[in-house]
Amino acid sequence: MQIRYLSLVLLLWIFSGAAVAQGLPPLSHSLTPMDPPIPAPPLSLPNLDEDKVALSDFGGKVVVVNFWATWCPPCRREMGSLERLHQATAASGVEVLGVNVGEDSDTIFSFLGTIDPSPTFPMLLDAEAETVDRWGVRGLPTTYVIDREGKVRYRAVGGREFDHPQILEAIRALAK
């Protein structure tokens, strides 16, 4: 019993928390740099109120674009941390955009109500899954960080803890 307890302490120390505590693969804590940075592809999609939102609307800001779906386990797990990132960086000129792939607004609304904290950043609908292909996404979730000049500076393939200090620091540095 004592060995088991000590092992658990060690494991939780290594992976610090949430993912292991839920018995799931751990979320990553870092963003991978795009070298060299490339211009972000166009993005213009309806939001949940059916108003068009374009990446170009946020010119001069750092934008985090997250492609996701409600049925994708790592997407579900990282969604709360995206909202915490949004709350922590909005005042610094950082925008977060969620791009849902292939689902309807009812499904998305139902899901968002289950997330704590519930996302308040714009959710866009890529109903035909065309934008996700245009961006070269190959698996969900995939997240891009666009700098103030409209270039992709970081990419994250797979689930992340977006409110991890390492990620917050990288995004804040772009916004300065």
């Binding site: 658990l8 292991v20 505590a21 018995g23 899954a129």
Partner: protein, 196 residues
């Protein structure tokens, strides 16, 4: 509660043991609640795991995405695994193509069932675009590049075997930015078994 604790331990040991015990150490655990088995190993900073998805779990998932039981039955019984591949600390970005992976059964190698084959069949059966989109994106990617530091995906992988059959999975990738001769990476999961 006991079940949840059991699952915690299962995943803890799958992930941590691979890191702690180094290259090519294969782990095998069984979820005490669902009975689903996981095989996992790590090589050169790359982690791979296969977890059985039970046919009933697949039926429920896709019926919730608008498919009928008849439409999804061939896929649900095709030996499907939840697959995780992750570049924790390879010496560079890794690039894989699922078409390069092989299944070894009774000494013979065979390719995995391509996602496009399933999509063609589902389209013929009249599955609507939202169902096709969900199907396509829930699969493990056809190809992908993972940079070191934790790029990863989790998705479904159809092996195309019968329930209960055992096989070895040979996964391979190319490591970018390393000296010639060191660019090929591979991992073999041995004795993986299709869910009944």
């Amino acid at each position: 509660m006991k079940g949840i604790a059991g699952r915690r331990w299962a995943w803890c040991w799958v992930f941590c043991a691979g890191l702690a015990w180094g290259n090519d150490t294969q782990q095998h655990v069984k979820d005490p609640v669902t009975g689903a088995e996981t095989w996992a190993a790590e090589s050169g900073g790359v982690f791979l795991s296969l977890t059985q998805i039970l046919p009933d779990q697949l039926r429920a998932f896709y019926v919730n995405r608008g498919l009928t039981l008849d439409q999804i039955e061939p896929f649900a019984t095709s030996c499907v695994f939840m697959t995780v591949l992750r570049n924790d600390s390879a010496p560079g970005p890794i690039h894989f193509r699922r078409a390069d992976w092989r299944v070894r059964l009774d000494g013979k190698d065979r390719a995995l069932t391509p996602t496009d084959k399933w999509l063609t069949a589902l389209r013929r059966q009249g599955v609507e675009p939202p169902g096709l989109i969900a199907f396509r994106w829930a699969q493990f990617p056809r190809e992908q590049t993972y940079r070191p530091g934790g790029d990863w995906n989790q998705g479904m992988l159809s092996v195309g075997l019968e329930p209960g059959q055992s096989f070895d999975l040979m996964a391979s990738w190319r490591v970018e930015g390393v000296a010639a001769g060191n660019e090929r990476g591979k991992l073999i999961l041995k004795g993986v078994r299709c869910a009944d």
